[in-house]
Amino acid sequence: MKEKRITQHPILDVPERKEVEFLWNGRALRGYEGEMISSALVANDIHIFGHHPKDGSPQGLFCANGQCSQCLVIADGVPVKACMTPLQSGMLIESVEGLPELPADDEPVSPKKSPITDVDVLIIGAGPAGLSAAIELGRLGIDTLIIDDKDRVGGKLVLQTHKFFGSVEDSHAGTRGFEIASILEQEISELSSVRIWLNTTAVGVFSDGIIGAVTNKTYRMIRHKKLLVATGARERMLTFPGNTLPGVFGAGAFQTLVNRDLVKSSNRVFIIGGGNVGLIAGYHAIQAGIEVVGLAEALPQVGGYKVHADKLRRLGVPIFTSHTVVEAHGKDHVESVTIAALDEKWQIVPGSYKTFEIDTLLIAVGLTEVNEFYVKAKQWGMDAYVAGDAGEIAEASAAMFAGKIEGLKIARALGKTAEPIPQEWEEKAEILKSKPGKVSIKTPPASRSGVKPVFHCYQEIACNPCTSVCPENAIRTEGDVITGLPYIIDEEMCKGCMSCVAVCPGFAITLVDYRKDTQLPTVTLPYEIWKETVEVGQEVEVTDDDGNPLGTYPVKKVLSLKKKFPRTLLVQVQMEPEKAVKAIGIRVQHAEVRPTQTYEEALPMDEAIVCRCERVTAGEIRSAIRNGVRDINQLKAITRATMGACGSKTCRPMILRLFKEEGIDLDQVVDRVDRPLFVEVPIGTFAGVFGEEEDEQL
């Protein structure tokens, strides 16, 4: 079991957990008590959770987020989502094979009155947006309840091991995501008017305007005056043959396995999508000791921050721009992936296929708003607000700011404050949401004396931690705007404290110190991978911005700023001056993985699955579109796509994309009608025969 667990991590602590035994299809296995069943299974190298009753295809983990309804298993006789159900000692877990037998159950039941809770403000989602809003509301003493379906607060912050970009003053830039979650949680714990209910899934909103939520099989009704929907986003999927093989999953699912549950789910991953999510997932993989074979991005350049892409390149990950995934291969699990180059017209370049052997394919092609609660609440005429990714997909730093703003708006609407929304808040929120800007490569400082910070930060993004840590106050951003590139106002002011090197979320600052040796200056490089690979005396391959090797050098010293940035190693090597100013990375993946075969067959693109729940193929959808269907409800009636348990959460964006590919303007397409419930609920829970009686409080 140990081999599929992450037992040490450069950033994350590995907590002591209680091992328990459970049965998987009659086989005794071990897992950790309270971890999600899916994580325990993957840690035991079990990736097939069942087979689809329609076509027998293997089913496994896909979203790891309670959204996609693909990871169903039978636990103690009851069908549950493996990714949302905690493991208990002695659990009998079985795979879903076709249609299982109904357990005999003839116990008479009597429905109970479900608990009803009244709050002034209900916030759905304890991620960065929801928590930030709650802090604003709590400061004004407003009665606020936050509900979240996970067992801890922070939303996707808890999956983020890297230091955040954004603004130091407003969004904890320079602090790691999971640490920001703790900071926000701490702030909230001091606010007496804010309550948090964890493990509580909002499941629907009906015409009475009361939010239905489920905690441990109890159906709760939450009446509120104002609703803030801060439900975040879900990952988009791509339409390609093999896209539902176990081992093909979202980058967020991967981060959940690796960073939250410390499961070493994979040995070799390939990543599709060069946005920040894909780039960061690659980085997290390497931190977890997982090889990243490559990353493909359909655009001619990566869409995420250049610094994120540069970090990956320097570690030795090839990035294939203008490339797309064409097929995932494998019988019961993904075994290899084929990518191909795209020309300017988005067509595959003949003969450009490359196939890589992998065990995991991560899809990171963007996010979709989880906004069904908001849309429905608005439809029912409720006073609903939205913040974070649920409203507009952006960085977590922007979500925190949006939460703040919406929190204050709600307080105003409740008449609890007359404080206007500061104009600068709105402006900052816009800046934090902005896409990465232009790239301008700077020439390094020419002077070879003293100690110099070298900024390898070339792209305008909203980020300013370096300006806040310099004890000399010598670092500024151009134009003093948060998106400006950093510079030192006077090169002589640097005393070599290394704070800027350690704080930079993009690992884009080094120090070149000529004070001891002008011929072989000492370069301080930031490093957050395994410290075993950079022990003093060890030879490391140092790279430039783009990951090109500059040479191999022995490590002279490994430091860290213990108080503020204990996990960021500051690795010092001595290099020739002309190379020292170019040095920025240390390569860890040495053997580049080469394509194993060429691939020239006609692609079975129509075999790709669009609706996973009902196993509807791209071919069926395309054919309906070509026959004139312009209404997703009609498409549903004809093909059953969108009709499954997930409620079209995964396939709807894919269907809309197919419409576009078929040349249909989305304005002409009638969207589906959302019918609550938005999340599956056991009938007994819904009926009120399970769970607690009406006695308020959790």
Binding site: R675, L677, I683, F686
Partner: protein, 400 residues
């Protein structure tokens, strides 16, 4: 004004009724256009179950009409290119107590006398047939001929076939006006995009039929009667046929003094078990009956009562997830019978008001209307279905 067209018949309404009328007209070589305000099957036909049953019909004309329609399905289903999910697994009415047993026995005898294959089951027989049923039931009534299908698929399948035979379908085309020639014949059906000159108009607009009727000065006493449903995920097979409770029918149509042992909510919302396993290996559970205007939003109090009633009869479904809810509007008439009728305006026909029987009665409705338009002899005497039967009633009071 838009394009001008001329056609033999215009069918208003793209639900299963309008689709069936269009299908039978096309089979009879009648040049027809179907106009629909939204998408096909986007009204009640997209918010219902797929029942084709005789078991809950009043023995006599009502059951005969249902049986005539039911008997058309096997053949039509086999002739359509599109799989409408037709299955004929029968239905089971469950009986909760001795009083119901007595009434059911009489009812069953009358149905059987009509030639309907219905029979009584004792407790053991009922439980053998559907082992997941609560063990405290008293018995059941099985009707072997009953079937079910995928309602939206039925509309699509019928129209697909009709199109092959020359019918035209015009969706997102609400009828804004119908011009008559001094109320002696139909002249024009006007939509935002087209003026269609025709001699025959079939009002198959379901709960919207009164609006269409008004355009030609006819009062059509149809009221929307809302029903809500829950949809399960695909999980354990629970029942292999449609299961309903006899007690509700008894309270509704038979002995009005009979009161079921149910919660006040179930009574208030007219909640009765309807359990329908689908071809997609999940199931639908209903039902409720309320007059709430054109409101198709779901109400948690109603849905919970439905879930509670389902668990009372199928205790083992407690752990199965529900994934969705929906509400549809049954086109209700005061005497529970549909209107399949000529009207005082020659060439204006009504095919609406099927309440909860629209799917089951769709084919016979389509066939009868086509026979009327083609001047053929009718499959059954339909005087009980005439619009004229409501004339003289001053106010059509809704029961609830």
């Amino acid at each position: 004004m838009g394009t001008k067209k001329s056609v033999e018949a215009v069918v208003i309404g793209g639900g299963v009724i309008g689709s069936a009328v269009t299908y039978f007209l096309a089979l009879n070589h009648v040049e027809v256009i179907l106009v629909e305000r939204g998408a096909i099957a986007s009204g009640t036909s997209g918010r219902c179950e797929g029942d084709v049953v005789v078991c809950d019909k009043e023995p006599g004309f009502d059951s005969q009409l249902a049986k005539l329609s039911l008997d058309l399905f096997p053949q039509v289903a086999s002739q359509l290119d599109y799989d409408i999910g037709w299955t004929q697994k029968g239905s089971l009415l469950i009986i909760e107590n001795e009083e119901e047993m007595e009434a059911a026995t009489r009812f069953c005898g009358r149905l059987a006398a009509e030639g309907i294959p219905a029979r009584m089951l004792d407790r053991k027989e009922a439980l053998d047939m559907e082992p997941a049923l609560a063990k405290d039931i008293v018995g059941g009534m099985e009707t072997t001929c009953d079937g079910s299908l995928y309602p939206m698929g039925l509309a699509y399948g019928l129209l697909h076939e009709a199109k092959k035979r020359g019918a035209r379908i015009s969706t997102y085309s609400p009828v804004v006006k119908i011009e008559t020639d001094n109320k002696t014949s139909i002249h024009k059906v006007i939509t935002p995009d087209a003026e269609i000159i025709t001699k025959n108009v079939v009002n198959a607009a379901g709960v919207w039929a009164p609006t269409i009727g008004k355009m030609v000065g006819l009062n059509i006493p149809i009221t929307p009667r809302q029903g809500q449903m829950l949809v399960s995920e695909r999980a354990f097979p629970v029942a292999s046929r449609k299961v309903m409770e006899f007690g509700y029918m008894m309270a509704k149509f038979g002995n009005r003094s009979y009161v079921r042992n149910v919660s006040p909510e179930m009574e208030e919302f007219g909640v009765a078990l309807v359990f329908e396993p689908t071809e997609a290996q999940n199931f639908l559970i209903g039902s409720s009956r309320r007059f709430v205007g054109m409101d198709t939003s779901c109400d948690i109090r109603v849905l919970r009562a439905i879930a509670q009633r389902a668990i009372r009869f199928f205790p083992a479904i407690k752990d199965i997830n529900i994934i969705r809810s929906y509400a549809g509007l049954r086109p209700y008439t005061p005497d529970h019978l549909p209107i399949i009728s000529r009207t005082e305006i020659p060439g204006f026909y009504v095919a609406a008001g099927h309440e909860g029987d629209g799917i089951g009665l769709s084919l016979i409705t389509g066939k009868l209307i086509a026979q009327m338009i083609c001047d053929q002899s009718l499959a059954i005497d339909i005087s009980p279905l005439s619009l004229a039967r409501f004339q003289g009633r001053k106010k059509d009071v809704c029961e609830s």
